[in-house]
Every structure is written in C-alpha cells, then in structure tokens.
C-alpha cells in the first residue's frame, strides 16, 4: 500500500545532522535510526543498541544489535557509531547538543562501544532517539564526512541521499516538492506496517492541506488547523486525531532593562515589579483562549513544561483569572491607568499565535494596558527578539519544547540569567534572573537520583512561579487529519513514524 | 430606372439641448451610367447625404424621415447584417477625409486584397494582381512596390487615390465619391476623372460626386444638385444649372469661382445669405488684433532660404543594410522666399510638397541641406529656446484638417491655445473674444467654439485649423492645401483675409495647392515640383503665360475648362 501524506513544512536536506528540527528529524527517522528509539508513548526503547548500562558513573556501555544492515547493504558496526559521534559534533552540525565534546568514545569490539563522560549525566541518552547513525564507508566514499552546512558552496552527497538502517529507504527526494520512501526489506525489526511506499508532499497552505485530505487525495495530513478539526471529523472517510503536544506557549516580559524599549513609561521598567507581572498574569483568561482561540485543543499550563515531562507539574496551579485583582495589583504598583507597551508576536510559528496575542491584547485592555501588537512572520520576529537583534522586545510570545524532554533544558534556556549578548539563558528573552534558580539548575544537571532531582526542579519552578518569571499559557494540541483507511500512532512529540501505520 | 433614389431625406443629430437638422427634404436620383454632381456650401450636408446612403452616419446622427432606395429596394431600413452585403459590393464609398480613412496599421496591399477577396471570388495572388492594377490605374507610380507600404508613407494625394481604388475595387454599381480629388494635382485629377467616366460608360455604374470644384462638375457630371443649409436649392442637368442658374445661391456661387485666366485683386465673394445677415465685412487690420505689433526684427535677405534640401525615408527596414530600401521624397531642392511674398508650390501629388513644409517647420529632420529662417540656420539650432522662438514665427496649416485637431479638445480651446501660450492676450476674457472673432472670420460663428472637432464637416474643420494657425499671428505661414475642402464662397472669404494680412502686415506665405486658379490669384512666385525635384521657379504671370518646363506646360494644359460656367455675374464683381 502507498501512504500519501502532507505536512505544512518542507523536508530540506537529508543530512541527519544539519537541522535540529522536529519534522526533519521525524521524517529522517523513518530511514535512519539511533541507538535508541521512542515507542508509541515516547518511552525509550532499544534500537540499534540492544541494551546499555552505566558501568561506571562516568562510563556508559552500549551493546549494539548484530546483523543490522544499512540500505546499501553495508553492515552496521561500532565503527559506524564512533564515526557518527564524531560527525554529529563536528563543525557545521546542528545537533551538537546530542553529545558533548568532552565525551570520548571507545570501541570495545565490533558490537560494543563505550562512552566516557567528564562527569555523571543521567540524561545522556535522552535525545539519542534522534541521533541517527550513519554508515562510515558510505559517507566516506561519497565525500560527505563534513556535515552539510549552509555555508557550503558545493552540494553534499548526504544532503540529497540517505543511507540508514531504518524501515524505509528514501528513493527520491526533491526538496520542497516531494519525497518518496520505499519499504526496506532488510530491516532488522518486524514490520508492523503494511506499506510498500510512502509519498510525502509539503503543503504550506492550511486550507489546501485539509482539502487534499477531505477529497481523498491524501491519507494523512498534519497539522490540521484547530478550526477545521470538526470539519475533518464530520467528513465521511476522514477523522482528526488530536492530542496534547509538548510545546508550552508562554509570554515573557523584559525585566532587565531599566527602561522599556517600547512603552510610554519612561525612566523605569514596570515589568521589574512583580505586581505588574502578576497583574498581567491574572488579567489573562486562559479558559477563554482555550475555548475560543484554540477550540479546546490546548491544555492551560501552570509551568513552562508539559505535565507529561514533569511528574510534579500538577502541584502547581495557575494564578486565577481575576481582572479586579489584576487591577488592584496595577494600582498598587502605581499604574492605575495602565500604560502602553508593544508586544512582539510571530504570526506563522505556533498554532493561532497571532490570534492568541490579539486575545491577550484585548484582555490586557481591561486592566488599562494598551498593547501595541507587532505581529510578524517568524523570520522577522526571531531576527528582532533574539540575541542577534539585541533582544529587541519588551513583551513577547514564545513557545518551547525541551528537546531532551527534561526540565533542565527549560531552566537552562528559558529561566537562567543571561547577559545582553545572550550568554546564559539564551531564550530567556525577558532576562528574568534569580541566582538561586541558577544554582538549582546546576545541581539538577548532575543529580542522578530521580527523586531528589524532581525536588530540586520543584524548588526552581516554585521560585520562578512566585516571581512570575514568565506567564505560561498552554500546551498547544496536536491535530492530525487521517483517512479512515489508516491506523496509526500519534506521538506527543509530533513525530510521524510510518512503521506504526497500517492501511486497508 | 434609377439606381439610387433618395426621397425626402431628413437627417438629424440629436444633441443635448436641441436637435440639429443637417439635411432636410432632399430628393435625389442617380441613374445607371450617369454622374450626379453635388455642390454646395461647406457644411450644407452633402457628406451627410452620402453617409446616410451607405448607412454610416456618425453617431448620434439618424435618418429622421424619408427613404433611400437602391434599385427600388429600400436600404435605409435594412438590418446591419444585410447592409454589409450592399456596402462595397453594390455601393462604393469614398469618404471625404482620405487621410483618416485608411487603417494605419495595415499595408495598402492588405486593405485592398481583403476588400477584393471579400467581394470577388479571387485567390489571394489574383487579388494582389488586381490590387496592383488598381493602384496603377489611379496613377500611383511604381505600384508593385508602393502597394506594400503603409498609409503614413503615402502623400495626401496618394492616400486619396488609394481610397478611390478601395471604393472601386469590387466593381460596385453605385459609387459615392465625397470630394475625391481635393488633394490631387490636375494631371492626376484628370486621370481619375477619366477613370470614373470610363467606369460609368463601360460598366454602367451610377455615380454621385460631391465636390467644390466647379471644373470637375462641368467636366464630368450629367446632373447637378446644389445644396444650401441642408436643403436642395437647385437640381437639374449640368449644363442647365451651370449655364443658367435659377437660384440666387447658385448664381453667386458660380460667380465666385476663381478664374485661372486673369489675375484679379480680390476673390469675388458670395453675396447670397439666407435669413437676415450681413455679408462678411472687410477686416480693418490697423485696429484688429491680428494686426498688432509683432516682436521680430526685419531681415534684409530672403525670409526663408532653402538649400539642397534632401529628405530620404527608409521604406523597408532590415538588419542587413544592403536590404534596406530608401525613398528620396525631396531631392536637393533649393529656393528662397522673400519677406512679404506668397510663394506658391504646385506639383504632382507625392512630389514632396508637404514634406518640404514639414521640414521647414521642424517636424522632419532633413537628411541633408540647410534651411535658413530670417538668417538663422534652423537645422543647426540646438538651443530649445531659440527653436521655440523660431517656431512661433512660423505656422502651418496642415493638409489634413481633421487629424491635426485634437479630438478631445473643444474648438475654442484649440484656437485659444496658441494665444495663451504665446501670451498674445492679456486676460482670459480677451482670449475668448479673440477666439470668437477668429471663428467669425473663418465663417464658423462663435457658437462653434463649444463643439468638438468631430461635430464638424470637412470644410468646417479646415477652417478651424486655419483659425488656429492665424491665432499665433505668424510671420510666415505655410499653407498646405488650405482651402481644398472649402466651397468657393468660403474659400474666397478666407483667401481674401489672407491677402489682407499679407498686404497690411507683410505676412509671408508658402502656399501649396493644386488649384491653379487659386495659385494664380494668390501667389507672387511659384515653384513647380515633380518627383521630389524642383522643375522651375518663376513669377506668377511668367509661369502662367510662358511656362518653361515641360511638366508645367502639361499641368497648365490640363486645367479644367470652365466654359460651361455662366460668367454672367463675374464681370459685375
């Protein structure tokens, strides 16, 4: 059977190390495999590594699966792993975080390999499901040892061809147009799917993508805009699969500068005042956003992390929506008549991002804050708000998924102190800073005991929450449109794995 | 039995405030093999009758009354589809304005061939052969080459002949020719008239010829209709009408025909005017606006000196230089025009007369030669201001009156424009007065100022362009067939005005005309051209009395005879 599906974005280069982005990794993950993989519920499973153990606190040993072949027929060995490790952390790779430069690799035998770490790290392999192993001979033969990077002037063989060990091989790839997969007969695992080939087309226009599903031209499309879910469901022959996603959408406020860049308050920064931040928080009716903007396909969040990724998330609660309390806080802070502030918002990045911002603006108007909304495409938005633009924002909306599925990633990127150039919490655009939180974060990284680790995380979140470091909004939902002929698994990380698909 | 039978025709142009009746109560008949001449005042409705017959009245014109029959079948009420089958095939039409009648984007050949093939069952090569034959028959030299050219590459007279060829090409039973020979020199005119007569005689074609030229009427027509103010005032056999005119208008019209044989001081004017009205009063230049001072210094030498003027047109472009074709319209022509004189230019149609005029006014850049105006070499002038200063002193009346008028401007604005831009009047109200006065002098009346050019008859348009040319108070006036579309009465009035201006103010004129009688009355010296070359230049009387060049003699010999005209009144003038 042929599976035809569409996604809103394109699959660009096929080099598995040149872009650390969910869809690219997801699409390549059907052809390539890592040492580990994640199952239907995101649990870590052995893949190319049959098993692994921490033989010393600083040494991890991986026992590789035997008899695995690459699509070109080469055998999979420890050499390939060692090669891939070097390649993934070489210059030009976008997946440098997969494995630190201080880690050394020791080949024990053809199918055993050791990783020696500078210090203990309980989450070493958390992201290895998307650290795909390449074939050393193939890569070298084709002159593709260097990672395909944007600054290359000649095309890299690995950018146009793929040679993995996965269940599907890529037989043709026209970036931005179409990519065709075929089943790889020599796959080591039992194939639960019944596909012979897969055709992927990027379709940027939401309406067209949905139409192509409704008309039966495609078997599966994603994402489905929240407003069209009902339509997809009610259409005979198609259904919408929805589920929570891991990304948390939040608002941030510039708490670093002594005067806001875009505000009518001069000489001081209202966001330095917790009361103002809290007033903003309490002015937002998250349930209304959920119901009206997200059509219930969102989970209001009280933390910057999804409850799926942090067990104790349910111990936190959102500050209640209370306009009067918010007004009172504003008065207390000395802004009974509010103030004007400009808000930066992407309009093509997250689900209904601009609509959320508009709704927030309208809600803040109730506490007399006049929001001047600047909604831009992501290219301009990120150029403005990120470090290279000098964190040129006063109030912004951002979404974040921790790549390692772990809170440390959040604290590191979003909460940690930073300086003007971006050293520190690079995506802490508002520049929230609390030394205590930073200290906790460091401890969390090296703590091996899960209980204690969770407690430390709890403490860090508690401080940030008390100080209203950010205003978490919600986890946006996943929505896939699927033909009734299809059975598949929708993973919360929004990765689409063909091996779970059956078509009849 | 008559081919064409017009009964009680009334044509009106409904306007916004009132309806203008252009033609009323006209009865005409044309028999097979016979030629009917229609003469009359400019604007009398002659063309309108012709247009009504072929069913192509200009909007919003309509036939309000009467019937038009062709071989006893009514044709004015036919649906558009069936009219198409009559046009071209049964009725050939020559419109008054030959210069705008041809599609500018199609070669003469394709226009001829398509017409021929529409009506006659010929192959395209046969049609082409016939087209060449026709072009030759109307006297255009070098027909097989000329035929592939575009209308704008033809001279005025040549285009007129193409139009004639087009009207005749499907061998129609009735030909309506609206001033078919205005732009033709006498020799070609004779050839064309001969062609028409032959058609009538051999093929039994009926013909209706509208013209101002009494010579033509006398020469070829069997019957004459005289129109005045939209009505038929006299209708009868030619010798009778011309020899013993009954109506006062006819009488005075005939008496006003300029004489080619003797030179008189002023042109006799028509003194018949219907309704209470005064005849045109002489203009008192001393006090008149037109006579006010001009700000240029007199020159000692000739005003215009032309030396070795050559004009070469590229008629076939090509990437390869050797395949390009050229045509020398003017070949090394030299002459002078003295201040205050009227310099006549006559000559074969297509001999380069208009081209010379256009070069002098700066519309064409000559390929070689120099033009000096008041001592300044015009060809070498580069300073825009100087060029403009020169231009102001020269003025041209274009051969084609209609296309030289901006169709989107009202007549009063057209005439006022030069006055305004040369600051010849101090206030707007003065400008308005001058415009109205000028309109009066060319016989249009002030009310004409409000209208647009397309609402006028051919002769009326010509007068508008004369008024515009005069409005600049020129020092040197180039007249390219200025009165070709005018009936003799209006013509006389205008030529007298020009003469007055010249006498009083020393206006210098270059006067291009085919009408030898007019030339004789108007000009001091005359140049004769043929084939782009100057044949001879001589004083007026010398030329008429003792022509030197063969071609000149040939022309003079062909002047239409005027024996038929009743000259009864002329002696009294």
């Amino acid at each position: 059977e042929t599976l035809k599906f569409a996604f809103q974005g394109t699959l660009n280069a096929l080099d598995p190390y040149s872009l650390n982005e969910t869809f690219t990794l997801s699409a390549l993950g059907n052809a390539y495999e890592g040492l580990t993989r994640r199952g239907a519920d995101l649990e870590i499973e052995p893949a190319l590594a049959e098993r692994w153990e921490v033989i010393e606190p600083n040494r991890w040993r991986f026992y590789l699966r035997e008899g695995v072949k690459f699509h070109n027929g080469n055998d999979f060995t420890a050499e390939d792993v060692a090669f891939s490790v070097e390649r993934v952390r070489s210059e030009g790779s976008d997946l440098l975080t997969r494995i630190g430069s201080e880690v050394t690799v020791e080949i024990v035998d053809d199918h055993t390999i050791d990783f020696v770490l500078p210090g203990p790290n309980p989450i070493l392999h958390y992201e290895w499901d998307t650290f795909y192993i390449m074939d050393k001979e193939w890569t070298e033969e084709n002159d593709a040892v260097k990672v395909t990077s944007a600054s290359d002037t000649t095309p890299n063989y690995a950018a146009l061809n793929a040679n993995g060990t996965g269940p599907f091989k890529i037989v043709s790839h026209e970036p931005g147009v179409k990519t065709v997969y075929e089943t790889f007969d020599g796959w080591w695992d039992d194939a639960p799917h019944n596909l012979t080939s897969v055709e992927f087309t990027p379709i940027g226009s939401d309406a067209t993508r949905v139409a192509a599903l409704l008309s039966g031209e495609l078997d599966m499309v994603y994402p489905v805009p929240v407003q069209d879910i009902k339509r997809v469901d009610s259409n005979s022959g198609t259904r919408a699969l929805t589920g929570p996603e891991l990304r948390t959408i939040h608002l941030g406020m510039d708490q670093m500068r002594d005067e806001l860049l875009y505000s009518d308050v001069k000489g001081k920064n209202p966001f330095k005042d917790i009361r103002v931040r809290k007033a903003f928080y309490q002015a937002i009716d998250i349930e209304a956003i959920k119901a009206k903007v997200m059509r219930d396909l969102a989970t209001p969040a009280s933390l910057l992390i999804s409850p799926f990724l942090y067990g104790r998330a349910d111990e936190f609660e959102r500050y209640p929506y209370d306009v009067d309390a918010a007004k009172a806080l504003m008065s207390e802070a000395g802004y009974p008549d509010g103030f004007t502030v400009s808000m930066d918002c992407p309009n093509d990045r997250y689900v209904n991002d601009e609509a959320i911002c508009q709704a927030v603006a309208a809600m803040l108007a109730r506490i007399n804050v006049k929001v001047d909304l600047v909604a831009q495409p992501k290219a301009k938005y990120f150029a403005k708000v990120l470090a290279s633009g000098g964190y040129d924002t006063s109030f912004y909306l951002l979404g974040w998924t921790p790549g390692s599925f772990d809170s440390w990633n959040i604290l590191e990127n979003l909460v940690q102190c930073r300086d003007d150039s971006g050293a520190g919490g690079a995506f802490n655009l508002g520049g929230y800073c609390n030394a205590e939180v930073d200290a906790l974060k460091d401890k969390i990284l090296s703590e091996n005991d899960p209980e204690i680790r969770d407690e430390l995380i709890y403490q860090a979140y508690a401080i940030a929450n008390d100080e209203v470091s950010h205003i978490p909004l919600h986890q946006q939902g996943l929505a896939w449109g699927v033909s009734d002929k299809l059975e598949l698994v929708q993973r919360a990380d929004n990765q689409f794995k063909f091996r779970f698909v059956t078509k009849n | 039995m008559s081919v064409l039978d017009i009964r009680d025709l009334k044509v009106e142009f409904p306007g916004r405030k009132s309806t203008f009746v252009a033609v009323q109560g006209v009865h005409l008949e044309v028999e097979a093999g016979k030629i009917l001449g229609v003469v009359g005042e400019s604007g009398a409705g002659k063309s309108t009758v012709g247009n009504a017959v072929i069913g192509l009245l200009q909007e919003p014109g309509r036939i309000a009354q009467g019937e038009i029959r062709l071989h006893d079948d009514r044709i004015d009420t036919l649906p558009e589809k069936q009219k198409r089958h009559i046009r071209g095939r049964k009725i050939g039409m020559i419109f008054q304005d030959p210069l705008t009648s041809l599609d500018p984007l199609q070669t003469v050949e394709s226009q001829l061939v398509e017409t021929i093939r529409t009506h006659l069952p010929l192959s395209s090569s046969q049609a082409r052969a016939r087209a060449i034959e026709l072009i030759d028959a109307v006297g255009i030299p070098n027909p097989s080459e000329r035929i592939s050219q575009y209308p704008h590459q033809f001279s005025g007279g040549m285009r007129q002949r193409v139009v004639i060829a087009l009207a005749l090409c499907a061998e129609p039973e009735l030909v309506i020719a609206d001033e078919p020979t205005t732009a033709l020199d006498v020799s070609i005119q004779a050839q064309i008239l001969e062609l028409m007569k032959r058609l009538c005689a051999d093929r039994n074609v009926a013909m209706m010829v509208i013209t101002h030229d009494m010579g033509v009427i006398a020469d070829i027509t069997d019957h004459v209709a005289v129109m005045y103010h939209g009505k038929l005032v006299e209708y009868g056999e030619t010798h009778q009408v011309l020899g013993a005119p009954q109506h006062r208008y006819t009488q005075s019209l005939i008496s006003a025909v300029p004489r080619p044989d003797v030179r008189v001081e002023r042109f006799p004017v028509v003194d018949y005017i219907e309704k209470a009205g005064k005849p045109a009063k002489q203009i008192d230049i001393a006090t008149h606006w037109l006579g006010q001072t001009r700000d240029y210094t007199k020159t000692d030498g000739p005003l215009v000196e032309i030396e070795d003027l050559t004009m070469r047109f590229e008629v076939k472009g090509s990437l390869i230089p050797s395949r390009r074709k050229h045509f020398d319209a003017v070949k090394a022509v030299s002459f002078d025009i003295k201040e205050g004189e009227t310099f006549g230019v006559v000559g074969e149609s297509g001999s380069g007369k208009s081209t010379i005029a256009r070069i002098i006014t700066g519309l064409y850049h000559p390929t070689a030669g120099t033009i000096r105006f008041a001592g300044t070499d015009l060809t070498s002038l580069t300073n825009r201001r100087q060029i403009l200063a020169m231009r102001r002193q020269m003025q041209m009346i274009f051969q084609d009156p209609y296309s030289s008028l901006n169709a989107r401007m009202r007549v009063r604005d057209i005439i006022a424009e030069p006055i305004k831009f040369h600051r010849l009047a101090s206030s707007n109200s003065e400008v308005r007065q001058i415009v109205e006065d000028l309109l009066d002098h060319v016989g249009l009346g002030a009310a004409a100022g409000k209208k647009f050019p397309h609402e006028f008859s051919g002769g009326q348009r010509q007068r508008i362009s004369i008024a515009r040319a005069l409005a600049t108070r020129p020092r040197f006036l180039l007249c390219d067939e200025p009165t070709s579309a005018l009936d003799v009465s209006i013509q006389a009035q205008i030529l007298n005005l020009l003469k007055d201006l010249q006498d009083e103010l020393g206006l210098t004129m270059m006067f291009i005309s085919h009408d030898l009688a007019v030339i004789r009355q108007m000009c001091n010296r005359i140049a004769v051209m043929k084939n782009g070359e100057l044949c001879e230049v001589a004083d007026c009387d010398t030329l008429f009395e003792s022509p030197q060049h063969d071609y000149t003699r040939h022309l003079l010999k062909l002047m239409p005879s005027m024996e038929l005209l009743s000259r009864a009144n002329i002696e009294t003038a």
Partner: protein, 327 residues
C-alpha cells in the same frame, strides 16, 4: 475688433443646437451646465455607482458614529463573543447583526472601520501610483531616446521587486531613519508608499506605449508647430488621449491594492492586527471557510467586491464621458 459675429454660417434649420448658457455665468452654473454632469445624470448606472461609492465613503468615515461597536477598542471586545454567526442563523447574538470574527469583533462595525483603512490606502496608493506612472510614462514616451531608456530601465528594476519586498524595504528604511516610529501614523504612509511604488510601472509603461503612438499623430505635430512647450503638449494633448487604459488599470488596481494591503499587514509592515482592514478581515476569514464560519470572509469580501464594482462602473462612465465622441 471687426464685428462679423452676426454673420451666420451655421446651418441652422430647425433649432439652434447650442443655445446653451453664455460664458459669463458662474462657475457653478457652468458646472451645472457641463456636458460631464449632463452625461452623468443621464447615465443611470453612473448615478447608482456614484451613490454606491459615496455610500462606502460615508460609511467608512462616519464609522465611529454609526457603527454599533468600536472593533478597534480592545477593551470593548471580548474573545468570548468570537465567531458568533449572523443574526438570522442559530446561536446568533442580537448585538451582532452580521456576526463576529475570531476575536469577537462585530463584523458589521469591523467592515465599516476596516473600510476606512482600505479606502484610504487603496485610493491614495492608486492615485499616487497613477500620478507617478503617468508622468514618467508621458515623459518617456514623448522624449524617447535616453530619457526613455533610463525611465524604462528604472521601471524594469521596479518590476523585479514584488510589493512584499518593497514594503519590507521601505518599512526597514523608515525604521532606520526615524527610529522606532509611531506605527499608527507611519504604517499608513508605508503602505501607501509601498503600494504606489509597486504599481506605478503599469501606468508608466501603458502611457508610454500609447504616447509613442500618439506623438506621431498630426494633432501633436500641429501643437508642436504652434510652439507649445513639450510639457503642455504632454499634459493637454497627449494625456487626454491616453487616459482610456489608465482608467481601466486604475479601477482594477484598486481591488488589488486593497487586497495587497492585507498581505503586507500580514508581513508585519502595515496596520497592526488589532486594527484589521477590509482585506485583513477577508484574510482572517479565509481560515474559517471550511469550518463553517463563512461569514467572516464573505461579508467583507462582498463589501470589497461591491466597492470595486461601483468604482469600476464609475470609471467606465468617466472614460466614456471624457471622450467627446462617446457622449
């Protein structure tokens, strides 16, 4: 003056065609008597179209007084009112005649307010583009040679950049020059400027082409012989004869300008999303076509289509009215 004015030469048989008012009457009188007005009043379509267009302007500019809500006032809108259907449908809310959009803005008021933006931006940019284009086109066509080459190559450069890039460029440049600017004021100008810049070439090239043809005609030559300065020839003689295509393009471009404005706003260079124009409303509604909330796109779309229809009919009439032969 010689007084031959009474010499009558007109063939006046039945009634005098032009007994019209004397030239001395007032400007108003002359206007009332003018052919344009007359042809206007006579053309039913023109009158209806004019009234229609006028209505649009009235509605747009009196929006603050006549609109039932102020959709630009964020404090007055509530997301809870989002996507209410028009009054005649189930689940409607009597406050919202035509329903609401995704933010809970009253659609009827949104159309009135949005129209103001669209009308200003649309008309100003089309007029500006036409003025730039016509002048450059006339000059290029009339002068020819090097002037023509320079202008037309500038036009080619211009054509290369679509409106979105121009808008980004202008927006960036404006921010660079004026620093962080008052968006509400400047976004208008940026939009108008960007649209005008991207549309002028059409006018320029069309006018140039027609000018090249017209300038060889005898009436232009006659004007040159009279000694009228080139600039006047271009404006008074050639321009009226080449307006036909210009009017067609301008009236059609109006729609394009209004729609393009929405695209530019999406790129973040135009009006903020909290102040949607007609085009933006349509663009928003576009997302809701499949989900059954058709009214968000369709009502503003209808308003725009009606506006464009009226303006085009008016343009058709005007073109005819300006041509004396068609009156």
């Amino acid at each position: 003056m010689s007084d031959v004015s009474e010499k009558q030469t007109e063939s006046v048989i039945a009634t005098d065609r032009d007994t019209g008012a004397p030239d001395t009457m007032s400007a108003f009188g002359r206007f009332m008597d003018s052919d344009i007005l007359h042809s206007f009043l006579r053309s039913k379509v023109a009158v209806i179209a004019a009234i229609g267009t006028f209505m649009f302007f009235i509605l747009a500019f009196t929006a603050p007084w006549i609109a039932p809500h102020d959709p630009f006032d964020l404090a007055s809108i509530s997301i809870l009112d989002a996507r209410v259907p028009p009054i005649w449908m189930d689940y409607a809310d009597p406050r919202f005649l035509l329903g609401t959009d995704d933010q809970g803005r009253d659609l009827l008021s949104g159309i009135f307010y949005g129209m103001r933006i669209s009308l200003i931006v649309g008309f100003c940019s089309v007029i500006a583009a036409a003025i730039i284009g016509i002048s450059l086109g006339l000059v290029a066509g009339y002068m020819g040679g090097r002037v023509d080459a320079v202008i037309m190559r500038i036009a080619d450069v211009q054509l290369t950049f679509p409106a979105i890039l121009i808008a980004l460029l202008i927006d960036g440049a404006a921010r660079g020059i004026f620093g962080s600017l008052d968006r509400e004021v400047f976004s208008f100008w940026i939009l108008i400027f960007a649209l005008a810049l991207s549309f002028w070439v059409q006018y320029a090239r069309t006018v140039r082409g027609s000018t090249m043809v017209e300038k060889n005609k005898e009436y232009v030559q006659a004007a040159r012989v009279i000694g009228i300065p080139s600039i006047i020839i271009m404006v008074r003689h050639i321009l009226p004869n080449v307006t036909g295509p210009v009017l067609v393009i301008a009236t059609i471009n109006l729609a394009l300008a209004i729609v393009t404005e929405a695209t530019l706003s999406f790129l973040g260079v135009g009006m903020p999303p909290t102040q949607p124009s007609l085009g933006t409303l349509i663009a928003i509604g576009n997302d809701f076509l499949y989900s059954g909330e058709w009214w968000i796109a369709i009502f503003p779309g209808l308003a725009l289509a009606l506006l464009v229809l009226n303006v085009n009919l008016l343009g058709d009439w005007l073109r005819d009215a300006l041509n004396p032969k068609l009156r």
